[in-house]
């Protein structure tokens, strides 16, 4: 079978920032934290694959490695058959990355100006860019507001803009990092429908989606991986995962609890990653994390 994404023992360790006194006392000691450890996944073409895990489990690090923003420490991975370390340019040509960060647009440009600019980074210019941008604005239903400044858009519209941008280069694989974060239930439901029907079923794209929403994972994904403390705990379809539990009518919450030993708290999981990172770095400096796992950092 041909895979869209393949990882082989993919591992990422980050050097821990040392405090001033630690640097003086142990100048040659190398402190590391493991964000992702020996992850092996294969994802077929046209699959909608979800990755679930508590905050700091390693989901974002894994996505960023696959998008070539972070280099792995060990192991290899292929996206559309291209090595993420050796053929990073080819990987980026064939992927789309949809982030929830609304700051990733220029707020004082219009929606259209934003997309035309990002289209040029995908080597679409002039007429080609205009045509592609109009096509996508139609698809995400923003054509009538295309000439308004991005700052005037609602959260849902900003999210649709992020989707349009992620599809500019007509990618074969689309990475989505919490695509419905910050949306009201109605808008989130619409977006889920859009992802499943338009992106996966109609266009046949492979979607790698990270989410903090168990219901969303269950509704959307053909297969789910649960990751915790950098390690992949289990992979399977929602039904397969539930069937592994010796319990009547298990839910995905039960599966999560079983494999991670942690209650799933959506609010906790949606906290801003940098606040967690700062906390962990502080603790690291106090020597609490030497050689340990991240367990709480969202990189």
């Amino acid at each position: 079978m041909e895979y869209s994404i393949e990882t082989h023992d993919l591992t990422k360790k980050f050097a821990l920032q040392k405090g001033f006194t630690d640097s003086l006392r142990h100048p040659f000691r190398k402190d590391e934290i493991t964000a992702v450890e020996k992850v092996n996944i294969t994802i077929g073409k046209g699959e909608l694959f979800g990755i679930l895990g508590p905050n700091g489990a390693g989901k974002t690090t894994l996505i960023k490695m696959l998008c070539t923003l972070i280099l792995p420490t060990e192991g290899t991975a292929y996206v559309n058959g291209y090595n993420i370390a050796g053929d990073s340019g080819k990987v980026r040509e064939s992927i789309g990355f949809i982030t929830t960060d609304e700051r990733s647009f220029y707020w004082r440009l219009t929606g259209r100006q934003n997309l035309i600019f990002f289209a040029s980074l995908h080597n679409f210019y002039s007429y080609d860019a205009q045509k592609r941008v109009d096509e996508l604005l139609n698809i995400v239903g923003l054509i009538n507001r295309a000439n308004d400044k991005f700052l005037s858009y609602s959260a849902g519209m900003k999210q649709r803009m992020a989707i349009a941008r992620g599809l500019l280069n007509n990618p074969e694989v689309v990475f989505m990092d919490e695509p419905t974060k910050g949306l009201d239930p109605g808008a989130a439901q619409n977006l889920r429908g859009f992802i499943k029907e338009r992106i996966v079923k109609e266009q046949g794209k492979t979607v790698f989606l990270s989410t903090h929403h168990l219901g969303e994972a269950e509704q959307l994904c053909g297969r789910i991986a649960i990751i915790d403390e950098g390690e992949l705990r289990v992979i399977g379809s929602p039904e397969e995962l539930k069937s592994t539990l010796d319990k009547p009518n298990p839910t995905l919450d039960d599966v999560f609890l079983h494999y991670t030993g942690k209650e799933f708290k959506e609010e906790e999981a949606s906290k801003h990653p940098y606040s967690e990172r700062k906390r962990m770095m502080r603790e690291g400096r106090r020597g609490m994390m030497r050689g340990g796992r991240i367990g709480g950092i969202g990189f």
Binding site: I70, G89, Y106, F118, N123, F299
Partner: protein, 269 residues
């Protein structure tokens, strides 16, 4: 293709810049203040220090006008690249740009293009005001030679700017190259006064700074119309700096990007 891409960056930055209309207007308006300040200082100085200014035509205002106008390229190069990285990191747009097929060095280089265009516009305004309103004599200017010096200056300063940006990529703040060049260039580079005023041992510092040759060449070309042959010492010095600094800048940036990707800090600020 690169020109089309460059054009997209220029359009983006032009629209962003002009969306802050008041700031744009203020920047233009306060340009006149610094020119007038030096005009009156020059009036006060009169013929004093003539022996130092003789090689440049003898007029302090003409001397300093070229100095403040063209030293703007150094400021732009030192700040343009690093601020474009930092600006995109802080706006949150860098990550979205880095997952496209356009490579990081192209993104950083093109992101600073607008700053160079704005600086060139400012230089032009300085020179026009100087020539038409404040009596700076550029009737003998050798414009071709000035362009040669300008191109070498921009390449050379940009290379230093890229080295500076490499430090920003890793350190995020506190870039030593910027601090070193900005503080030394104004004092030793001949921006506000001829380096001949400095004691001999301090002039040695001037001779290792590219801005010294850039400003000297530009003054001789614009104020006295020196030929390319007569400008050879300055051109050769700038060419040597360029040959050394361009590969050094590219290597430093390549290393910085790789390190940031290993550390996972590419988009942090």
């Amino acid at each position: 293709m690169i020109f089309k891409k460059a054009f997209s960056f220029i359009i983006r930055d032009f629209v962003l810049q002009t969306s802050y209309k008041f700031e744009f207007f203020l920047r233009l308006f306060f340009m006149f203040f610094s020119i007038l300040t030096f005009y009156f200082i020059a009036k006060l100085i009169g013929g004093a220090g003539l022996q130092y200014l003789e090689p440049y035509g003898g007029d302090y205002f003409s001397f300093v006008l070229i100095g403040i106008a063209f030293s703007g390229y150094l400021t732009t190069a030192m700040r343009g690249f690093s601020e474009s990285i930092r600006g995109e990191q802080m706006m949150g747009t860098l990550e979205a740009m880095l997952v496209t097929p356009t490579n990081t060095s192209t993104i950083i280089t093109l992101s600073s293009l607008w700053s160079f265009i704005f600086t060139s516009f400012r230089v032009l305004i300085y020179l026009l005001i100087g020539a038409f309103l404040l009596g700076v004599d550029m009737s003998n200017a050798n414009l071709f030679a000035a362009m040669v010096i300008l191109i070498l200056t921009i390449i050379c300063f940009s290379s230093i700017g890229i080295i500076s940006a490499s430090f920003i990529m890793i350190l995020k703040r506190g870039d030593p190259i910027n601090m070193l060049f900005m503080s030394t260039s104004e004092l030793f580079g001949g921006v506000l006064f001829p380096i001949a005023v400095l004691p001999g041992w301090l002039q040695n510092v001037s001779h290792i700074l590219p801005i010294t040759y850039s400003l000297s060449g530009m003054r001789h070309a614009l104020l006295q119309g020196y030929s390319l042959h007569a400008l050879a010492p300055d051109i050769i010095a700038l060419a040597v700096f360029t040959v050394v600094l361009v590969p050094l800048g590219l290597l430093a940036f390549k290393y910085a990007v790789k390190k940031a990707r290993v550390d996972g800090t590419l988009v942090q600020y």
